[in-house]
Symmetry: C2
DNA sequence: TTATCTGCAAACGCTTTGCATCGGA
DNA sequence: TCCGATGCAAAGCGTTTGCAGATAA
């Protein structure tokens, strides 16, 4: 299963891992590759499905372990969009999230400032490392669908869940 | 177990429930009372422990059900401070959260604007209902402890976890 | 009277843990 | 060689569901 990555891609990913002081292992290369390639936020389940579709089978626990090490070394980040699931995304540019109350989709919102601590809390003495904003409401897609009035709940569910899909 | 609340408190809580078009039931009165009285953010586990300490035993599922109806009617709100647990808090004033990476405590940060949609996302066409900010970093307490250098990890854990406690 | 909520148990989904084995540095 | 990561299974945690019986409106 290590043969999937073209040599130069493998080089690049290995370099990233090494620069984060992580050992270069096959599962790490595979998962980092997947996360960087697809962008957006993905559940661990998505990652597993994606790998499976490419014929790669990794144990859940390994995927969790790998993601944890990637996160703690800053190569990828997790988005907090509510309890119960962990959404992983590449840490390319700092951004925030909009969660649609109707269809459940999670939409990336670019950060106007672009830096991780883009806002300051009123909390003297604290060391702020990052500020993440979560907006909740109804996404443009659902607003439009509602205006047209032609779509029932089932249709919407299918149409507007860009996140739930596979990577 | 319905005898715990003084009559006038019971009246007040019942009025709140009715104004939210919720039926007035004993578990709802008890749980709403607890959440309003203590303030701050509490896990469902905290709520259960608190009730237990007062000699009130409610099934988990009922607590979850009650909290869900209170949340969906706007009487209380849930804070998203990371995956895996649901923090409940009274919906008195809109505020944000600071999560300490060292001790895990969650600190309320007052919202400068005070309204739920205090920030606008760059997402044309969306209906924004609320914006919640999560800061991550090291809380003032841990910063101070680190500066003094006198506290080891265990001490800190005990000292600075105002959230994990009981209500 | 009726729709709604409670109370109990059991299931569920996601994540973590334990441990023997394997593999990169 | 040796520390750290993998792979597997199984447990853990917080939350949800299903349904019979109770209860507010």
């Amino acid at each position: 299963m290590s043969a999937r990555l073209p040599p130069e891609r493998r080089q690049e990913l290995a370099a990233r891992l090494r620069s984060a002081r992580l050992r270069v292992t096959t599962p790490r290369l595979i998962i980092l590759d997947a996360l960087l390639r697809v962008g957006g936020h993905r559940s661990v389940e998505d990652v597993l499905r994606h790998l499976q579709r490419e014929g790669i089978r990794l144990p859940r626990a390994t995927v969790y372990n790998v993601i944890r090490s990637l996160v703690s070394s800053g190569l990828v980040m997790v988005a907090d969009v509510g309890p119960g699931r962990m959404l992983v995304e590449s840490a390319e540019r700092w951004h925030h999230h909009f969660v649609c109350r109707e269809c459940g989709s999670v939409i990336d919102v670019p950060c106007a400032v672009g830096a991780k601590p883009c806002l300051e809390p009123d909390l003297p003495g604290a060391e702020v490392e990052e500020a993440q904003i979560i907006w909740r409401g109804v996404c443009p897609r659902c607003v439009a669908a509602r205006a047209e009035g032609g779509l029932d709940a089932r249709d919407q569910e299918t149409l507007s869940r860009p996140t739930g899909g596979s990577i």
